[in-house]
């Protein structure tokens, strides 16, 4: 029922406002930092030196990774949604699992395999913008795959069948009827891939493809020039927001094109054994290229290298951070979902603001948190000087809290979607039914909401868990002294050309993310299959 303000507005909006603050504050801080100080002279200098290169490389890498992901993801989504062959049920979720592999891990593996002395040295070496685009496309294509598969299998077969009866051959019918209907979903998936590509640091740094993110980290690490880094960050964010806007509009369209009344799932076409074998080969290709081969190479290297540092504490740190961020993000996701449910202006505004964080690359979020911390320090110092004439006795370092702050700012948005769709299962009439049966608001939340949304909340938490586990640039910038995570250790070794030592931590990240990703993939596939 569209109108029932009495029950709708019964939820508090303030948690979502708090979430919006967490997500937006770092971005605002970066913007403030960027516009402070001399601006035009710096820009001219930058334009004269490195900026054109950064931009050009960024364009190349994002274009290639987007294209690779779109073709791979959409093609396989069509295959899995419309054809039946041995192993289809497994590939349906397995095709999403390479998302567990951090792009830099795949980059280490492939670079090592294809460099001059490597076992696949006869191939062109995977490096430079082309190599980076390829690797990012092969590890990020699941974003396109998941959205396109949903679109293809949700599409009633009517359009495709109508095209066939009007004389179109199968491929033509796919191109002219099925594909245009799924195009918004594919575009939305591509936008996610491009945003992840923009945010990536580990892979592009290792493969020698200096994107804007690399420039930002160099500016921050090399000269400690946070203001300069902030200006680059602002450009990066502008780039990302363009893509983000594209993603939002395409998703809205994807919902429209799929909203066509009753869903009559298309009957899948049974493939013969030869064609079936071909389908299996096609499905195996991205899984092998994006996950199995690079991880196998890393395993090989890990077995033949000494364990030089204490990985146990780094692994504990990584998992701890990922768990905390995952749980908090799930809470933020639910807060936003409830705020959206109220339909109140500020609730919707807060939830949408929190959702913007997804477009903010990790390095930018980290920079923003740094800016906030230093502003806090400055404020405290000034206050203390006024009162006691000395500097504030403590140095404000965020420690783990600062890291979590940055993670949430970037990834909490990823938790909003799953929470929203989980809460959508609790229709307003279910609320009304529970209330008329004598349950008050709290009892309704416990007996009706909790069981219906708990799996969605777990999905949200695990999604963020995987993302945080793989995260590199924000962790590098914000980690406290003597605090390492697997990603940081792997990156440090890799940038010292000590790939043997980098292999094990990179592998451990993938192994830790794998079970979670398998659960996520199967959960998403099954949720769509259910009525």
């Amino acid at each position: 029922m569209a109108l029932s303000p009495a029950l709708r507005q019964a939820y508090p909006v303030w948690p979502a406002l708090f979430a919006a603050l967490i997500c937006a504050a770092p971005l605002v801080a970066v913007a403030a930092l960027a516009v402070s100080g001399e601006w035009t002279g710096y820009l001219a200098h930058l334009w004269a030196t490195r900026l054109p290169d950064y931009l050009w490389v960024t364009l190349q890498v994002t274009a290639l990774s987007g294209a690779v992901a779109a073709v791979t993801g959409a093609g396989l989504a069509w295959l899995v949604a419309r054809y039946d062959f041995t192993g289809r049920g497994v590939f349906e979720w397995l095709l999403a699992v390479p998302l567990a592999v951090p792009a830099y891990a795949a980059a280490y593996g492939w670079y090592d395999l294809t460099q001059g002395a490597g076992p696949l040295g006869f191939l062109p070496t995977v490096r430079g913008p082309a190599g980076a685009g390829l690797i990012l496309g092969l590890t990020l294509y699941p974003y396109v795959y998941l959205l396109a598969r949903e679109a293809f299998s949700g599409q009633s077969s009517d359009a495709y069948e109508a095209a066939r009866t009007l004389g179109a051959r199968p491929f033509e019918a796919f191109r002219r009827a099925a594909l245009p209907l799924a195009r918004p979903a594919i575009a939305a998936g591509m936008a996610l891939v491009i945003m992840e590509t923009l945010a990536d640091f580990g892979a592009v740094a290792h493969l020698g493809a200096p994107t804007l993110t690399v420039g930002l980290i160099r500016a921050w690490a090399g000269e400690g020039a946070t203001a300069e880094a902030a200006r680059l960050a602002l450009m990066l964010v502008a780039f990302a927001f363009l893509i983000f806007a594209l993603e939002r509009t395409q998703r809205a369209r994807a919902r429209q094109t799929n909203a066509s009344g009753r869903r009559k799932p298309a009957r899948r076409v049974q493939l013969g054994w030869a064609a079936g074998l071909g389908a299996v080969a096609l499905c195996l290709t991205p899984v092998l290229l994006g996950m199995v081969i690079p991880l196998a190479r890393l395993s090989y290297r890990a077995l033949h290298a000494p364990v030089t540092r204490d990985l146990v504490s780094a692994a504990q740190n990584a998992v701890l951070l990922a768990v905390i961020a995952g749980v908090l993000a799930a809470i933020i996701g639910l807060a936003a979902a409830y705020a959206l449910r109220t339909g109140k202006m500020r609730g919707v505004f807060a939830a949408r603001t929190a959702g913007l964080g997804y477009a903010v690359p990790g390095a930018v979020a980290a920079l923003g948190v740094l800016a906030i911390l230093s502003a806090l320090q400055g404020g405290l110092d000034a206050m203390w000087t006024n009162l006691f004439g000395t500097q504030f006795p403590l140095l404000v370092t965020g420690g783990i809290a600062a890291l979590i702050f940055a993670y949430l700012s970037r990834f909490a948005a990823a938790a909003i979607g799953p929470s929203e769709s989980a809460l959508a299962r609790v229709t307003l009439t279910l609320d009304a039914a529970a209330r008329t049966l004598g349950a008050n608001g709290r009892e309704t939340a416990w007996r009706v909401h909790r069981p219906l949304i708990s799996r969605g909340a777990l999905l949200a938490a695990l999604l963020v868990f995987v993302e945080v586990l793989k995260e590199l640039p924000a962790t590098m910038i914000l980690r406290p002294f003597n605090f390492d995570t697997l990603a940081v250790i792997a990156h440090n070794y890799a940038s010292d050309e000590r790939l043997g030592e980098a292999a094990l931590p990179a592998l451990l990240i993938a192994l830790a993310a794998l079970p979670a990703m398998v659960w996520i993939a199967r959960r998403i596939i099954r949720a769509e299959a259910a009525p």
Binding site: T427, L430, L437, G438, N440, P531
Partner: protein, 352 residues
């Protein structure tokens, strides 16, 4: 009427979602325990909003709802839905997807131990013939089964008032008939005051002891089914319950003369403009040589046991008449049409 009847009284209830015309605009309604009242009206007439207001799911913007001596809704008063003891059968049933049929039914039961509650819920499911499906989940149940679970769930806590919002609308015709019987039986066994919201006149006539007609947020007529059907208060009211032919006429010494003949119009002053209403089945279709207005049959729509004839008068006006399917009328036949003076109803012309 017995004086100590327990009643739910709605007085001048108003519900307003947005500025402009309210969804419910000063509606008056009285529900009596042990009786079924059907609230009939076209979509958008405010019936569902009124039902939701009674359940406490909407706040009143004016007027009052009271049950026995307690005010449920009124100025500054809004009793929470969970405190009203209203059982609601929602249009989409709103079954809890994570609970079995049995646990859905037991949801509203309070007090006693788990075993007692389960036994009571099972008893309820038995009364709607769903005991064998007690452990099935909503998505495993057919539409009709879901409807019956929703009914059992609403009745389980022995509510004082039962509200049903288009409970049969999602079901096919044959199933509807069966469920109507089950529902009527279950409702008779309970002593609740029942409100059935529907836009289906047939359903209202079949199930209700009283019919209330709603249009544009107001209750425009209340009464026994046959009384409301045969003696509607206005043209709008007449059309809500089915097809009707209306003839404008002028009252003359207690009679009104129409193209199809005279109708008794006692109680109207001479010269008053009136509207003579006749249901299609009360219009007599006679042979061409009999008395009445000459007409030609231009269309025939056979139905269950009856046929609807479209007859064109000499002035071109089309009249619907309904006769037995076995009557020998065919398109092209010349006939005479006449009113049955005992079964016409005359209202003031303004009321139309």
């Amino acid at each position: 009427m017995i004086l100590d009847d327990r009643v739910l009284d709605v007085r001048a209830a108003t519900v307003r979602y947005a500025p402009g015309r309210p969804a419910v605009d000063g509606a008056d309604l009285r529900l009596t325990c042990g009786r079924v009242t059907a609230l009939l009206g076209p979509s958008g007439s405010g019936k569902s909003s009124l039902l939701r207001a009674i359940a406490g799911l909407e706040k009143l913007d004016g007027g009052e709802i009271r049950f026995e001596n307690r005010v449920w809704s009124g100025p500054g008063i809004h009793l929470a839905p969970e405190q009203r003891r209203c059982g609601v059968v929602f249009q989409d049933y709103a079954l809890f997807p994570h609970l079995s049929a049995l646990n859905n039914t037991a949801f509203g039961l309070r007090g006693g131990d788990r075993g007692t509650r389960r036994a009571k819920a099972l008893e309820r499911l038995k009364s709607v013939e769903l005991e064998p499906r007690a452990h099935a989940f909503p998505h495993q149940l057919s539409g009709g089964e879901q409807q019956r679970v929703a009914l059992a769930r609403a009745l389980a806590p022995d509510p004082d008032v039962v509200l049903m919002d288009e409970p049969f609308s999602g079901l096919d015709r044959r199933l509807r008939g069966e469920l109507r019987e089950t529902t009527a039986r279950a409702l008779r066994d309970s002593d609740a005051a029942t409100l059935l919201v529907t836009h289906d006149a047939e359903e209202a006539l079949a199930l209700a002891d009283t019919i209330a007609l709603m249009s544009q947020g107001r209750i425009i007529q209340t009464g026994a089914p046959d009384a409301v059907y045969l003696r509607p208060a206005s043209l709008t009211a007449a059309r809500l319950l089915g097809e009707v032919e209306a003839f404008e006429a002028v009252a003359e010494s207690g009679r009104a003369l129409t193209v199809l003949g005279e109708a008794p119009a006692s109680g109207f002053e001479d010269g008053a403009r009136v509207c003579v209403l006749a249901r299609p089945e009360t219009i007599e279709v006679r042979r061409a040589d009999a008395q009445g207005a000459p007409a030609v049959i231009t269309g025939r729509r056979p139905g269950a046991g009856q046929q609807r004839l479209i007859c064109q008068l000499e002035d071109g006006r089309e009249i619907s008449a309904r006769t037995a399917l076995t009557a020998p009328h065919r398109p092209g036949d010349a006939v005479r049409l006449a009113l049955d003076p005992d079964n016409t109803h005359v209202i003031p012309a303004e009321a139309g």
